[in-house]
Amino acid sequence: MVFINGVLKSIDEIVNLYGDNIYRLAFSRTKSLTDGEDIVQEVFLKLMDSDKNFHSDEHLKAWLLRVTINKSKNLLNTAWFRKTTNLEDNLVFLIEEKSEVYKYVLELPTKYRVVIHLFYYEDLKTEDIAEILNIKHGTVRSQLTRARELLREKIKGVEIDVF
């Protein structure tokens, strides 16, 4: 069961509110539809098993993002994943075909994809990204700078906002 400030939150509501956020973050790391779904499932099972009380919706979301990172990190470390990463799935092809900028993000190394995702999709501050990834604030900033540089080389004609 999940509580926010002592109030019980239904699992249907949480899955509908945050399911896609978790899936998108998991996908940005794994580049795999099926692995992304597995991670989503593991994250929610972990949540329901934990009987947590969160201060706010933001607190719950930050926890979910953090667990997603850990679950996908575990997956990326498995020998099975390393052997099967060459098999790109349909979603990658779809993104390559339909997206304007995401296809270039997918070409970046994993660590850069994740900071780009948390910064530009989740609108998180670099301090919050550092907390979620458990890395130094300076490292997040330098990774973001490097990721932007790489994207600028790939994407022509799209201004990469720095905020």
Partner: protein, 290 residues
């Protein structure tokens, strides 16, 4: 703008509605099983506790009041501890002492230094967040640190699974008291205490060169600088002119490691506080050397 286009592109990556429905069903089913199991475990545990408790009371008459380790799940710590993960992967290592949340600080203190630094024993950690001595792991012994104030700096020791002593340090700042650079310098004891200083460039690469002299110059400037976190105008200016950053990793003589970020635009960032340096030329010169 990139952010708008990236957000729009992300709409392609979407969970199937059927998947969501099945997931909710599965979680509800799992929840029922977990509840049943918990009830069974609780019943067994209660029975065992009653039997053992009765045995000890009858035979010894003593109740051990010190073993007050609460085994509940941590409510607020956002850390996710999976099997096989090391302590180093935790998101936020913390310690609650007198209602203040102390944050973990890196260190290289060995057992020899430990005996010199370990002060008065204050208690033992429990899991949780709001309680006194709450931390992410229960059973760590909490001590004051010789040469530091317990209101700002504490240490814990713990025997890990390899039967080795783990030493951790925790820092707390009373934010209202950090007005100038010298206020934080007094607490982190960097002045005249540096063993080695190395630097990370703005791409996060570590430079294997000692920047001790540069740090000492920087400290003199930092002492006089203002913490600008409370000023909206100053923070707006900071956002405009801060520029790139480089990070100084400062290893102290006592084994504690401190990080200082230097902004090209003349600012210093330490543990969440931002200080504005008056002499921009000095900081620019140091920044270029790092």
């Amino acid at each position: 703008m990139f952010s708008n286009k990236y957000k729009k592109d992300n709409e392609i990556v979407k969970l199937d509605e059927e998947f969501k429905k099945n997931l909710v069903k599965k979680i509800k089913k799992e929840e029922k099983i977990v509840k049943k199991n918990r009830f069974k475990i609780a019943s067994i545990a209660a029975t065992v506790t009653l039997l053992l408790g009765g045995y000890f009371l009858i035979n010894t008459g003593v109740l051990d009041r010190e073993k007050n380790i609460v085994a509940n799940d941590n409510l607020d710590n956002m850390e996710e501890k999976d099997k096989g993960q090391t302590q180093g992967t935790s998101m936020m290592s913390f310690l609650n002492y007198k209602g203040n949340i102390y944050r973990n600080v890196e260190n290289t203190v060995g057992e020899k230094q430990l005996s010199e630094m370990k002060g008065e024993k204050l208690g033992v950690t429990i899991t949780g967040f709001n309680e006194e001595f709450a931390s992410e792991i229960a059973g760590k012994e909490v001590y004051t640190v010789k040469g530091y104030e317990k209101e700002n700096f504490l240490m814990t020791t713990n025997i890990n699974y390899e039967n080795k002593i783990e030493i951790e340090f925790y820092q707390y700042y009373d934010e209202g008291k950090i007005k100038k650079g010298e206020d934080i310098l007094k607490l982190i004891k960097v002045e005249n205490n540096i063993e080695k200083a190395s630097s990370y460039d703005n791409l996060g690469n570590l430079k294997n060169k000692d920047f001790k002299i540069e740090v000492e110059v920087l400290i003199k400037e930092l002492k006089l600088s203002d913490n600008i976190l409370e000023s909206k105008e100053e923070m707006a200016e900071f956002e405009k002119i801060k520029g790139e950053t480089k990070t100084l990793k400062i290893e102290l003589k006592d084994g504690i490691i401190r990080y200082i970020d230097i902004y090209e635009g003349g600012y210093i960032f330490i543990d969440g506080f931002i200080f504005k340096l008056e002499n921009k030329d000095i900081i620019k010169d140091i920044y270029n050397k790092l």
